[in-house]
Assembly symmetry: C2
Homo-oligomer: 308 residues x 2
Protein backbone atom coordinates (compact mmCIF):
# COMPACT_ATOMS: atom_id res chain seq x y z
CA UNK A 1 0.00 0.00 0.00
CA UNK A 2 1.39 3.46 -0.89
CA UNK A 3 1.31 5.59 2.26
CA UNK A 4 -0.79 8.76 2.36
CA UNK A 5 -1.07 11.55 4.90
CA UNK A 6 -3.44 14.53 4.77
CA UNK A 7 -3.44 17.39 7.31
CA UNK A 8 -5.60 20.44 7.96
CA UNK A 9 -5.04 23.61 9.94
CA UNK A 10 -8.69 24.29 10.68
CA UNK A 11 -11.63 25.84 8.90
CA UNK A 12 -11.29 29.62 9.00
CA UNK A 13 -13.22 32.76 8.27
CA UNK A 14 -10.21 33.96 6.35
CA UNK A 15 -6.45 33.85 6.73
CA UNK A 16 -4.93 37.32 6.60
CA UNK A 17 -2.24 37.90 3.97
CA UNK A 18 0.50 38.44 6.54
CA UNK A 19 -0.25 35.07 8.19
CA UNK A 20 -0.70 33.09 4.98
CA UNK A 21 2.95 32.31 4.42
CA UNK A 22 3.50 31.16 7.99
CA UNK A 23 0.36 29.03 7.90
CA UNK A 24 1.41 27.51 4.59
CA UNK A 25 4.85 26.66 5.91
CA UNK A 26 3.38 25.08 9.04
CA UNK A 27 0.87 22.91 7.25
CA UNK A 28 3.46 21.74 4.70
CA UNK A 29 5.89 20.89 7.50
CA UNK A 30 3.22 18.83 9.28
CA UNK A 31 2.41 16.83 6.13
CA UNK A 32 6.09 16.32 5.38
CA UNK A 33 6.78 15.06 8.90
CA UNK A 34 3.76 12.74 8.78
CA UNK A 35 4.80 11.38 5.39
CA UNK A 36 8.40 10.74 6.44
CA UNK A 37 7.11 8.76 9.44
CA UNK A 38 5.10 6.59 7.05
CA UNK A 39 8.04 6.26 4.65
CA UNK A 40 10.12 4.87 7.50
CA UNK A 41 7.53 2.13 7.85
CA UNK A 42 5.86 3.39 11.02
CA UNK A 43 2.11 3.16 11.63
CA UNK A 44 -0.71 5.49 10.59
CA UNK A 45 -1.22 6.26 14.30
CA UNK A 46 2.44 7.35 14.57
CA UNK A 47 2.05 9.54 11.47
CA UNK A 48 -1.10 11.38 12.58
CA UNK A 49 0.32 11.91 16.05
CA UNK A 50 3.56 13.25 14.57
CA UNK A 51 1.81 15.58 12.12
CA UNK A 52 -0.58 16.96 14.73
CA UNK A 53 2.27 17.49 17.21
CA UNK A 54 3.96 19.78 14.64
CA UNK A 55 0.76 21.85 14.40
CA UNK A 56 0.23 21.92 18.18
CA UNK A 57 3.77 23.28 18.56
CA UNK A 58 3.19 25.95 15.87
CA UNK A 59 1.67 29.14 17.39
CA UNK A 60 -0.14 29.95 14.13
CA UNK A 61 -2.68 27.18 14.72
CA UNK A 62 -5.52 26.83 17.23
CA UNK A 63 -4.16 23.81 19.13
CA UNK A 64 -1.47 23.39 21.77
CA UNK A 65 0.60 26.59 21.84
CA UNK A 66 -1.54 29.12 19.93
CA UNK A 67 -4.87 27.83 21.23
CA UNK A 68 -7.63 30.43 21.50
CA UNK A 69 -8.52 31.64 24.98
CA UNK A 70 -11.61 30.91 27.04
CA UNK A 71 -13.64 33.62 28.77
CA UNK A 72 -11.07 33.72 31.59
CA UNK A 73 -8.15 34.14 29.18
CA UNK A 74 -6.96 30.57 29.74
CA UNK A 75 -6.15 27.75 27.32
CA UNK A 76 -8.24 24.56 27.67
CA UNK A 77 -7.69 21.97 24.97
CA UNK A 78 -9.47 18.93 23.47
CA UNK A 79 -7.92 16.16 21.36
CA UNK A 80 -8.61 12.65 20.11
CA UNK A 81 -6.92 9.89 18.13
CA UNK A 82 -8.19 6.61 16.68
CA UNK A 83 -6.65 3.49 15.19
CA UNK A 84 -8.72 2.07 12.34
CA UNK A 85 -7.30 -1.43 12.85
CA UNK A 86 -9.33 -2.22 15.96
CA UNK A 87 -11.29 1.05 16.52
CA UNK A 88 -9.20 1.76 19.61
CA UNK A 89 -9.44 5.41 20.53
CA UNK A 90 -8.16 7.96 23.02
CA UNK A 91 -9.48 11.41 23.86
CA UNK A 92 -9.00 14.23 26.34
CA UNK A 93 -11.12 17.31 26.99
CA UNK A 94 -10.55 20.62 28.76
CA UNK A 95 -6.91 19.87 29.58
CA UNK A 96 -4.57 22.66 30.61
CA UNK A 97 -0.83 23.02 31.05
CA UNK A 98 0.30 20.27 28.68
CA UNK A 99 2.15 21.04 25.45
CA UNK A 100 0.70 18.24 23.34
CA UNK A 101 -2.82 17.06 24.09
CA UNK A 102 -2.64 14.63 21.16
CA UNK A 103 0.17 12.73 22.90
CA UNK A 104 -1.94 12.57 26.04
CA UNK A 105 -4.91 11.26 24.00
CA UNK A 106 -2.68 8.52 22.60
CA UNK A 107 -1.60 7.55 26.11
CA UNK A 108 -5.28 7.33 27.13
CA UNK A 109 -5.76 4.94 24.19
CA UNK A 110 -2.75 2.78 24.94
CA UNK A 111 -2.23 2.93 28.71
CA UNK A 112 -5.74 2.92 30.21
CA UNK A 113 -8.83 0.70 29.93
CA UNK A 114 -10.75 3.85 28.92
CA UNK A 115 -11.16 5.98 25.77
CA UNK A 116 -11.73 9.41 27.20
CA UNK A 117 -10.41 11.36 30.22
CA UNK A 118 -11.35 14.93 31.09
CA UNK A 119 -10.01 17.99 32.88
CA UNK A 120 -8.59 17.29 36.35
CA UNK A 121 -8.55 13.52 35.84
CA UNK A 122 -6.77 13.89 32.50
CA UNK A 123 -4.20 16.21 34.06
CA UNK A 124 -3.65 13.78 36.91
CA UNK A 125 -3.12 11.00 34.36
CA UNK A 126 -0.65 13.21 32.45
CA UNK A 127 1.37 13.68 35.64
CA UNK A 128 1.29 9.93 36.33
CA UNK A 129 2.62 9.31 32.80
CA UNK A 130 5.51 11.71 33.41
CA UNK A 131 4.28 14.39 31.00
CA UNK A 132 5.74 17.70 32.16
CA UNK A 133 3.26 20.26 33.45
CA UNK A 134 3.99 23.57 31.75
CA UNK A 135 2.81 27.01 32.88
CA UNK A 136 -0.52 27.79 31.18
CA UNK A 137 0.89 31.09 29.90
CA UNK A 138 3.37 29.25 27.70
CA UNK A 139 0.40 28.24 25.50
CA UNK A 140 -0.96 31.80 25.28
CA UNK A 141 0.11 34.00 22.35
CA UNK A 142 -0.15 37.80 22.03
CA UNK A 143 -2.33 37.32 18.95
CA UNK A 144 -4.87 35.32 20.94
CA UNK A 145 -4.85 37.79 23.83
CA UNK A 146 -5.78 40.56 21.38
CA UNK A 147 -8.30 38.29 19.69
CA UNK A 148 -10.08 37.67 23.00
CA UNK A 149 -10.14 41.40 23.85
CA UNK A 150 -11.64 42.15 20.42
CA UNK A 151 -14.19 39.36 20.80
CA UNK A 152 -15.30 40.63 24.20
CA UNK A 153 -15.63 44.20 22.88
CA UNK A 154 -17.73 43.08 19.90
CA UNK A 155 -19.71 40.38 21.62
CA UNK A 156 -22.85 42.47 21.89
CA UNK A 157 -23.01 42.72 18.11
CA UNK A 158 -22.34 39.04 17.59
CA UNK A 159 -25.37 37.04 16.58
CA UNK A 160 -23.79 33.65 16.21
CA UNK A 161 -20.32 32.25 16.30
CA UNK A 162 -21.10 29.56 13.74
CA UNK A 163 -19.08 31.37 11.12
CA UNK A 164 -15.97 32.32 13.03
CA UNK A 165 -13.33 30.71 15.20
CA UNK A 166 -13.54 27.41 13.45
CA UNK A 167 -9.94 26.46 14.07
CA UNK A 168 -8.74 22.95 14.79
CA UNK A 169 -5.86 20.91 13.48
CA UNK A 170 -6.03 17.35 12.28
CA UNK A 171 -4.45 14.58 10.27
CA UNK A 172 -5.48 11.32 8.61
CA UNK A 173 -3.14 8.66 7.30
CA UNK A 174 -2.94 5.29 5.57
CA UNK A 175 0.19 3.25 6.26
CA UNK A 176 1.93 0.54 4.21
CA UNK A 177 0.08 -2.20 6.03
CA UNK A 178 -3.31 -0.70 5.11
CA UNK A 179 -4.09 0.72 8.54
CA UNK A 180 -5.80 4.10 8.76
CA UNK A 181 -5.85 6.56 11.66
CA UNK A 182 -6.94 10.07 12.51
CA UNK A 183 -5.86 12.68 15.05
CA UNK A 184 -7.62 15.98 15.83
CA UNK A 185 -6.60 18.66 18.35
CA UNK A 186 -7.95 22.10 19.25
CA UNK A 187 -8.12 24.99 21.68
CA UNK A 188 -11.84 25.17 20.89
CA UNK A 189 -13.68 28.43 20.28
CA UNK A 190 -12.63 31.82 21.55
CA UNK A 191 -14.35 33.31 24.60
CA UNK A 192 -15.82 29.89 25.41
CA UNK A 193 -17.14 29.05 28.84
CA UNK A 194 -14.78 27.31 31.22
CA UNK A 195 -15.10 23.55 30.67
CA UNK A 196 -16.68 23.82 27.21
CA UNK A 197 -16.11 20.67 25.19
CA UNK A 198 -16.50 20.68 21.43
CA UNK A 199 -16.62 17.96 18.82
CA UNK A 200 -12.88 17.31 18.76
CA UNK A 201 -12.66 14.69 21.56
CA UNK A 202 -15.94 13.02 20.59
CA UNK A 203 -15.30 9.97 18.44
CA UNK A 204 -17.52 10.10 15.36
CA UNK A 205 -17.75 13.89 15.49
CA UNK A 206 -14.17 15.21 15.56
CA UNK A 207 -12.96 12.22 13.57
CA UNK A 208 -13.29 8.52 12.91
CA UNK A 209 -11.04 5.74 11.59
CA UNK A 210 -11.98 2.28 10.46
CA UNK A 211 -9.78 0.10 8.24
CA UNK A 212 -12.95 -1.16 6.55
CA UNK A 213 -13.78 2.37 5.30
CA UNK A 214 -11.12 5.05 5.84
CA UNK A 215 -10.21 7.87 8.19
CA UNK A 216 -11.53 11.39 8.60
CA UNK A 217 -10.68 14.46 10.69
CA UNK A 218 -13.15 17.35 10.88
CA UNK A 219 -12.97 21.04 11.72
CA UNK A 220 -15.47 23.87 12.01
CA UNK A 221 -18.21 24.94 14.38
CA UNK A 222 -17.90 22.30 17.11
CA UNK A 223 -21.47 22.42 18.33
CA UNK A 224 -22.79 21.84 14.79
CA UNK A 225 -20.33 19.02 14.14
CA UNK A 226 -21.37 17.31 17.39
CA UNK A 227 -25.07 17.53 16.54
CA UNK A 228 -24.65 15.79 13.17
CA UNK A 229 -21.77 13.42 14.03
CA UNK A 230 -20.00 14.86 10.99
CA UNK A 231 -17.14 12.34 10.84
CA UNK A 232 -19.24 9.18 11.09
CA UNK A 233 -21.95 10.69 8.86
CA UNK A 234 -19.44 11.20 6.04
CA UNK A 235 -18.15 7.63 6.35
CA UNK A 236 -21.72 6.29 6.27
CA UNK A 237 -22.18 7.93 2.88
CA UNK A 238 -19.01 6.19 1.67
CA UNK A 239 -20.33 2.87 2.98
CA UNK A 240 -23.46 3.54 0.92
CA UNK A 241 -21.34 3.71 -2.24
CA UNK A 242 -20.79 7.46 -2.58
CA UNK A 243 -17.42 8.74 -3.77
CA UNK A 244 -15.26 10.56 -1.21
CA UNK A 245 -16.14 13.86 -2.86
CA UNK A 246 -19.89 13.15 -2.88
CA UNK A 247 -19.79 11.96 0.75
CA UNK A 248 -17.96 15.10 1.88
CA UNK A 249 -20.37 17.36 -0.03
CA UNK A 250 -23.40 15.54 1.35
CA UNK A 251 -22.40 15.70 5.00
CA UNK A 252 -21.01 19.25 4.96
CA UNK A 253 -24.08 20.35 2.96
CA UNK A 254 -26.41 18.71 5.47
CA UNK A 255 -24.69 20.43 8.40
CA UNK A 256 -25.00 23.77 6.62
CA UNK A 257 -28.63 23.39 5.58
CA UNK A 258 -29.91 21.88 8.84
CA UNK A 259 -27.87 23.93 11.34
CA UNK A 260 -26.21 26.73 9.35
CA UNK A 261 -22.97 25.15 10.59
CA UNK A 262 -19.78 25.63 8.59
CA UNK A 263 -16.79 23.35 8.61
CA UNK A 264 -14.33 21.24 6.71
CA UNK A 265 -12.88 17.78 6.58
CA UNK A 266 -10.00 15.68 5.32
CA UNK A 267 -10.55 12.11 4.33
CA UNK A 268 -8.46 9.13 3.22
CA UNK A 269 -10.09 5.93 2.04
CA UNK A 270 -8.87 2.41 2.75
CA UNK A 271 -7.53 2.29 -0.84
CA UNK A 272 -5.54 5.51 -0.49
CA UNK A 273 -7.81 7.97 -2.26
CA UNK A 274 -8.13 11.28 -0.43
CA UNK A 275 -10.18 14.45 -0.48
CA UNK A 276 -10.25 17.82 1.30
CA UNK A 277 -13.49 19.86 1.47
CA UNK A 278 -14.75 22.85 3.37
CA UNK A 279 -17.72 25.22 3.54
CA UNK A 280 -15.85 27.83 5.63
CA UNK A 281 -14.10 30.62 3.69
CA UNK A 282 -10.79 28.81 3.76
CA UNK A 283 -8.99 25.79 5.19
CA UNK A 284 -5.22 25.34 5.15
CA UNK A 285 -4.46 21.76 4.08
CA UNK A 286 -1.72 19.58 2.67
CA UNK A 287 -1.60 16.02 1.37
CA UNK A 288 1.40 13.81 0.68
CA UNK A 289 1.28 10.73 -1.56
CA UNK A 290 3.50 9.09 -4.19
CA UNK A 291 6.32 11.58 -3.59
CA UNK A 292 4.08 14.60 -4.30
CA UNK A 293 2.92 17.28 -1.89
CA UNK A 294 -0.43 18.96 -2.62
CA UNK A 295 -1.45 21.99 -0.56
CA UNK A 296 -3.76 24.99 -0.43
CA UNK A 297 -5.57 27.51 1.73
CA UNK A 298 -8.31 29.10 -0.37
CA UNK A 299 -10.87 27.38 -2.56
CA UNK A 300 -9.40 28.21 -5.95
CA UNK A 301 -5.84 27.34 -5.14
CA UNK A 302 -3.86 24.09 -5.12
CA UNK A 303 -0.08 23.82 -5.32
CA UNK A 304 1.69 20.55 -6.18
CA UNK A 305 5.40 20.09 -5.53
CA UNK A 306 7.85 17.19 -5.21
CA UNK A 307 8.49 15.94 -1.71
CA UNK A 308 12.12 15.95 -0.56
CA UNK B 1 -49.72 11.79 17.47
CA UNK B 2 -50.19 9.32 20.35
CA UNK B 3 -47.44 9.99 22.89
CA UNK B 4 -44.91 7.29 23.72
CA UNK B 5 -42.22 7.02 26.36
CA UNK B 6 -39.69 4.21 26.80
CA UNK B 7 -37.17 4.00 29.65
CA UNK B 8 -34.28 1.72 30.57
CA UNK B 9 -32.41 1.09 33.79
CA UNK B 10 -29.16 -0.02 32.19
CA UNK B 11 -27.77 -3.16 30.70
CA UNK B 12 -26.74 -5.50 33.50
CA UNK B 13 -24.86 -8.70 34.10
CA UNK B 14 -27.81 -9.89 36.12
CA UNK B 15 -30.25 -8.36 38.58
CA UNK B 16 -30.31 -10.30 41.86
CA UNK B 17 -33.70 -11.58 42.99
CA UNK B 18 -33.81 -9.35 46.07
CA UNK B 19 -33.28 -6.23 43.93
CA UNK B 20 -35.64 -7.21 41.12
CA UNK B 21 -38.81 -5.91 42.73
CA UNK B 22 -37.26 -2.55 43.63
CA UNK B 23 -35.78 -2.20 40.15
CA UNK B 24 -39.13 -3.08 38.56
CA UNK B 25 -40.97 -0.54 40.69
CA UNK B 26 -38.41 2.18 39.84
CA UNK B 27 -38.49 1.62 36.11
CA UNK B 28 -42.31 1.51 36.04
CA UNK B 29 -42.47 4.72 38.06
CA UNK B 30 -40.11 6.46 35.61
CA UNK B 31 -42.19 5.43 32.60
CA UNK B 32 -45.42 6.42 34.34
CA UNK B 33 -44.03 9.86 35.23
CA UNK B 34 -42.73 10.37 31.68
CA UNK B 35 -46.07 9.33 30.19
CA UNK B 36 -48.11 11.58 32.44
CA UNK B 37 -45.90 14.52 31.40
CA UNK B 38 -46.70 13.73 27.76
CA UNK B 39 -50.41 13.27 28.54
CA UNK B 40 -50.48 16.77 29.99
CA UNK B 41 -49.31 18.04 26.61
CA UNK B 42 -45.71 18.80 27.56
CA UNK B 43 -42.77 18.16 25.24
CA UNK B 44 -40.73 15.03 24.60
CA UNK B 45 -37.76 16.85 26.18
CA UNK B 46 -39.79 17.45 29.36
CA UNK B 47 -40.82 13.79 29.43
CA UNK B 48 -37.33 12.30 29.06
CA UNK B 49 -35.92 14.73 31.61
CA UNK B 50 -38.72 13.86 34.04
CA UNK B 51 -38.33 10.11 33.58
CA UNK B 52 -34.55 10.18 33.95
CA UNK B 53 -34.79 12.39 37.05
CA UNK B 54 -36.89 9.66 38.70
CA UNK B 55 -34.17 7.12 37.96
CA UNK B 56 -31.34 9.44 39.08
CA UNK B 57 -33.15 9.89 42.41
CA UNK B 58 -33.63 6.12 42.86
CA UNK B 59 -30.59 4.53 44.57
CA UNK B 60 -31.18 1.23 42.75
CA UNK B 61 -29.87 2.67 39.48
CA UNK B 62 -26.38 3.71 38.36
CA UNK B 63 -27.07 7.45 37.88
CA UNK B 64 -27.39 10.36 40.29
CA UNK B 65 -27.80 8.89 43.81
CA UNK B 66 -26.73 5.26 43.43
CA UNK B 67 -23.96 5.93 40.92
CA UNK B 68 -21.05 3.50 40.99
CA UNK B 69 -17.81 4.78 42.52
CA UNK B 70 -14.54 5.66 40.81
CA UNK B 71 -11.16 4.37 41.99
CA UNK B 72 -11.13 7.03 44.73
CA UNK B 73 -14.59 6.04 45.99
CA UNK B 74 -16.20 9.18 44.56
CA UNK B 75 -19.19 9.69 42.29
CA UNK B 76 -18.51 11.41 38.95
CA UNK B 77 -21.43 11.49 36.55
CA UNK B 78 -22.11 11.95 32.81
CA UNK B 79 -25.41 12.88 31.17
CA UNK B 80 -26.85 14.16 27.90
CA UNK B 81 -30.17 15.21 26.39
CA UNK B 82 -31.23 16.03 22.83
CA UNK B 83 -34.25 17.60 21.16
CA UNK B 84 -35.07 15.98 17.83
CA UNK B 85 -36.82 19.11 16.57
CA UNK B 86 -33.66 21.08 15.88
CA UNK B 87 -30.91 18.67 17.04
CA UNK B 88 -30.16 20.93 19.99
CA UNK B 89 -28.26 19.03 22.64
CA UNK B 90 -26.77 19.40 26.10
CA UNK B 91 -24.23 17.25 27.90
CA UNK B 92 -22.07 17.19 31.01
CA UNK B 93 -19.21 14.89 31.97
CA UNK B 94 -17.42 14.04 35.22
CA UNK B 95 -19.69 16.25 37.35
CA UNK B 96 -19.79 15.80 41.10
CA UNK B 97 -22.01 17.04 43.88
CA UNK B 98 -25.21 17.64 41.89
CA UNK B 99 -28.32 15.54 42.41
CA UNK B 100 -29.54 15.53 38.81
CA UNK B 101 -26.95 15.71 36.04
CA UNK B 102 -29.72 15.42 33.44
CA UNK B 103 -31.17 18.75 34.59
CA UNK B 104 -27.73 20.30 34.29
CA UNK B 105 -27.37 18.87 30.77
CA UNK B 106 -30.69 20.46 29.83
CA UNK B 107 -29.51 23.82 31.16
CA UNK B 108 -26.35 23.51 29.04
CA UNK B 109 -28.64 22.97 26.03
CA UNK B 110 -30.95 25.87 26.79
CA UNK B 111 -28.86 28.47 28.61
CA UNK B 112 -25.44 28.38 26.91
CA UNK B 113 -24.15 28.70 23.33
CA UNK B 114 -22.47 25.31 23.86
CA UNK B 115 -23.53 21.64 23.87
CA UNK B 116 -21.13 20.12 26.33
CA UNK B 117 -19.50 21.26 29.60
CA UNK B 118 -17.16 19.16 31.72
CA UNK B 119 -15.99 18.73 35.32
CA UNK B 120 -14.98 21.98 37.02
CA UNK B 121 -16.53 24.18 34.33
CA UNK B 122 -19.80 22.26 34.47
CA UNK B 123 -19.85 22.55 38.27
CA UNK B 124 -19.18 26.28 38.02
CA UNK B 125 -22.06 26.59 35.57
CA UNK B 126 -24.33 24.61 37.92
CA UNK B 127 -23.56 27.07 40.71
CA UNK B 128 -24.25 30.02 38.39
CA UNK B 129 -27.63 28.48 37.53
CA UNK B 130 -28.50 28.20 41.20
CA UNK B 131 -28.35 24.41 41.33
CA UNK B 132 -27.58 23.42 44.93
CA UNK B 133 -24.22 21.78 45.55
CA UNK B 134 -24.79 18.66 47.61
CA UNK B 135 -22.15 16.74 49.58
CA UNK B 136 -20.66 14.05 47.35
CA UNK B 137 -21.41 11.40 50.00
CA UNK B 138 -25.14 11.93 49.53
CA UNK B 139 -24.80 10.20 46.15
CA UNK B 140 -22.86 7.25 47.59
CA UNK B 141 -24.79 4.12 48.66
CA UNK B 142 -23.62 1.29 50.93
CA UNK B 143 -24.22 -1.16 48.09
CA UNK B 144 -21.78 0.73 45.84
CA UNK B 145 -19.17 1.02 48.59
CA UNK B 146 -19.23 -2.77 48.97
CA UNK B 147 -19.27 -3.19 45.20
CA UNK B 148 -16.08 -1.10 44.86
CA UNK B 149 -14.33 -3.04 47.63
CA UNK B 150 -15.24 -6.31 45.93
CA UNK B 151 -14.08 -5.00 42.57
CA UNK B 152 -10.73 -3.92 43.97
CA UNK B 153 -10.24 -7.28 45.68
CA UNK B 154 -11.01 -9.20 42.49
CA UNK B 155 -9.36 -6.89 40.02
CA UNK B 156 -6.35 -9.13 39.52
CA UNK B 157 -8.60 -11.85 38.18
CA UNK B 158 -10.57 -9.53 35.96
CA UNK B 159 -9.79 -9.91 32.29
CA UNK B 160 -12.16 -7.36 30.87
CA UNK B 161 -14.95 -5.23 32.21
CA UNK B 162 -16.88 -5.38 28.94
CA UNK B 163 -19.41 -7.72 30.48
CA UNK B 164 -20.06 -6.10 33.81
CA UNK B 165 -20.99 -2.74 35.23
CA UNK B 166 -22.99 -1.75 32.21
CA UNK B 167 -25.43 0.44 34.11
CA UNK B 168 -26.92 3.63 32.77
CA UNK B 169 -30.41 5.04 32.76
CA UNK B 170 -32.18 6.56 29.82
CA UNK B 171 -35.45 7.56 28.21
CA UNK B 172 -36.81 8.29 24.75
CA UNK B 173 -40.13 9.94 23.97
CA UNK B 174 -42.44 11.08 21.21
CA UNK B 175 -44.83 13.89 22.09
CA UNK B 176 -48.21 14.88 20.63
CA UNK B 177 -46.60 17.36 18.25
CA UNK B 178 -44.36 14.68 16.76
CA UNK B 179 -41.17 15.77 18.49
CA UNK B 180 -38.77 13.12 19.73
CA UNK B 181 -36.10 13.42 22.44
CA UNK B 182 -33.68 11.30 24.41
CA UNK B 183 -31.98 11.61 27.80
CA UNK B 184 -29.21 9.36 29.18
CA UNK B 185 -27.47 9.58 32.57
CA UNK B 186 -24.88 7.47 34.36
CA UNK B 187 -22.30 7.10 37.09
CA UNK B 188 -20.13 5.29 34.54
CA UNK B 189 -18.20 2.12 35.34
CA UNK B 190 -17.07 1.03 38.75
CA UNK B 191 -13.43 1.55 39.77
CA UNK B 192 -12.97 3.91 36.82
CA UNK B 193 -10.11 6.39 36.68
CA UNK B 194 -10.79 9.91 37.91
CA UNK B 195 -12.12 11.94 34.97
CA UNK B 196 -13.12 8.91 32.87
CA UNK B 197 -15.80 9.85 30.36
CA UNK B 198 -17.94 7.18 28.73
CA UNK B 199 -20.38 7.22 25.85
CA UNK B 200 -23.23 8.79 27.79
CA UNK B 201 -22.42 12.50 27.20
CA UNK B 202 -21.27 11.94 23.62
CA UNK B 203 -24.05 12.72 21.18
CA UNK B 204 -24.44 9.86 18.70
CA UNK B 205 -22.98 7.34 21.15
CA UNK B 206 -25.05 7.64 24.36
CA UNK B 207 -28.11 8.68 22.40
CA UNK B 208 -29.48 10.61 19.44
CA UNK B 209 -32.75 12.28 18.55
CA UNK B 210 -33.92 13.53 15.17
CA UNK B 211 -37.56 14.20 14.30
CA UNK B 212 -36.82 12.90 10.79
CA UNK B 213 -35.92 9.45 12.17
CA UNK B 214 -36.60 8.86 15.88
CA UNK B 215 -34.85 8.84 19.24
CA UNK B 216 -32.54 6.33 20.92
CA UNK B 217 -30.83 5.96 24.29
CA UNK B 218 -28.08 3.37 24.73
CA UNK B 219 -26.51 1.52 27.64
CA UNK B 220 -23.68 -0.96 28.05
CA UNK B 221 -19.90 -0.95 27.90
CA UNK B 222 -19.20 2.75 27.32
CA UNK B 223 -15.87 2.38 25.56
CA UNK B 224 -17.40 -0.04 23.04
CA UNK B 225 -20.44 2.19 22.47
CA UNK B 226 -18.16 5.19 21.85
CA UNK B 227 -16.05 3.32 19.32
CA UNK B 228 -19.05 2.34 17.17
CA UNK B 229 -21.26 5.41 17.74
CA UNK B 230 -24.00 2.96 18.71
CA UNK B 231 -26.90 5.44 18.79
CA UNK B 232 -26.27 7.08 15.42
CA UNK B 233 -25.30 3.72 13.88
CA UNK B 234 -28.70 2.26 14.78
CA UNK B 235 -30.53 5.25 13.31
CA UNK B 236 -28.50 4.99 10.10
CA UNK B 237 -29.83 1.46 9.65
CA UNK B 238 -33.38 2.80 10.05
CA UNK B 239 -32.66 5.50 7.47
CA UNK B 240 -31.59 2.67 5.14
CA UNK B 241 -35.03 1.08 5.45
CA UNK B 242 -34.45 -1.45 8.21
CA UNK B 243 -37.18 -2.06 10.79
CA UNK B 244 -36.49 -0.88 14.33
CA UNK B 245 -35.87 -4.47 15.38
CA UNK B 246 -33.50 -5.19 12.51
CA UNK B 247 -31.62 -1.93 13.10
CA UNK B 248 -31.18 -2.70 16.80
CA UNK B 249 -30.01 -6.25 16.08
CA UNK B 250 -27.57 -5.05 13.42
CA UNK B 251 -25.89 -2.38 15.52
CA UNK B 252 -25.76 -4.37 18.78
CA UNK B 253 -24.57 -7.40 16.81
CA UNK B 254 -21.84 -5.35 15.15
CA UNK B 255 -20.62 -3.99 18.51
CA UNK B 256 -20.49 -7.53 19.89
CA UNK B 257 -18.73 -9.12 16.92
CA UNK B 258 -16.22 -6.31 16.29
CA UNK B 259 -15.41 -5.36 19.90
CA UNK B 260 -16.97 -8.04 22.11
CA UNK B 261 -18.94 -5.13 23.58
CA UNK B 262 -22.28 -5.79 25.22
CA UNK B 263 -25.10 -3.31 25.61
CA UNK B 264 -28.70 -2.40 25.06
CA UNK B 265 -30.89 0.28 23.60
CA UNK B 266 -34.37 1.74 23.58
CA UNK B 267 -35.75 3.28 20.44
CA UNK B 268 -38.85 5.19 19.39
CA UNK B 269 -39.48 6.02 15.73
CA UNK B 270 -41.00 9.24 14.41
CA UNK B 271 -44.26 7.34 13.87
CA UNK B 272 -44.41 6.04 17.46
CA UNK B 273 -43.19 2.49 16.98
CA UNK B 274 -40.76 1.40 19.66
CA UNK B 275 -38.36 -1.39 20.48
CA UNK B 276 -36.11 -2.47 23.34
CA UNK B 277 -33.09 -4.74 22.73
CA UNK B 278 -30.03 -5.86 24.63
CA UNK B 279 -27.10 -8.27 24.40
CA UNK B 280 -26.26 -8.03 28.11
CA UNK B 281 -27.83 -10.64 30.40
CA UNK B 282 -30.71 -8.34 31.33
CA UNK B 283 -31.99 -4.78 30.98
CA UNK B 284 -34.80 -3.34 33.08
CA UNK B 285 -37.13 -1.42 30.75
CA UNK B 286 -40.66 -0.05 30.52
CA UNK B 287 -42.70 1.50 27.71
CA UNK B 288 -45.94 3.46 27.91
CA UNK B 289 -48.25 3.97 24.93
CA UNK B 290 -52.01 4.01 24.29
CA UNK B 291 -52.79 3.63 27.99
CA UNK B 292 -50.74 0.43 28.31
CA UNK B 293 -47.54 -0.13 30.25
CA UNK B 294 -45.13 -2.78 28.98
CA UNK B 295 -42.15 -3.76 31.13
CA UNK B 296 -39.50 -6.39 31.71
CA UNK B 297 -36.06 -7.18 33.04
CA UNK B 298 -34.99 -10.52 31.59
CA UNK B 299 -35.13 -11.69 27.99
CA UNK B 300 -38.07 -14.05 28.23
CA UNK B 301 -40.34 -11.80 30.22
CA UNK B 302 -42.73 -8.96 29.31
CA UNK B 303 -45.60 -7.72 31.45
CA UNK B 304 -48.42 -5.57 30.08
CA UNK B 305 -50.75 -3.66 32.40
CA UNK B 306 -53.15 -0.74 32.13
CA UNK B 307 -51.75 2.67 32.99
CA UNK B 308 -53.53 4.56 35.76
Amino acid sequence: MNPVVVVHGGGADNVSEDRKERVRRGIVRAATVGYSILQEGASAVDAVEGAVTVLEDDPEFNAGCGSVLNVNGEVEMDASIMDGKDLSAGAVSAVRCVANPIKLARLVMEKTPHCFLTNQGAEKFAAAMGIPEIPGEKLVTERNKKHLEKEKREKGAQKSDCKKNLGTVGAVALDRKGNVAYATSTGGIINKMVGRVGDTPCIGSGGYADNDIGAISTTGHGESILKVNLARLTLFHIEQGKTLEEAADLSLGYMKSRLKGLGGLILVSKTGDWVVKWTSASMPWAAAKDGKLHSGIDLDETTVTDLP
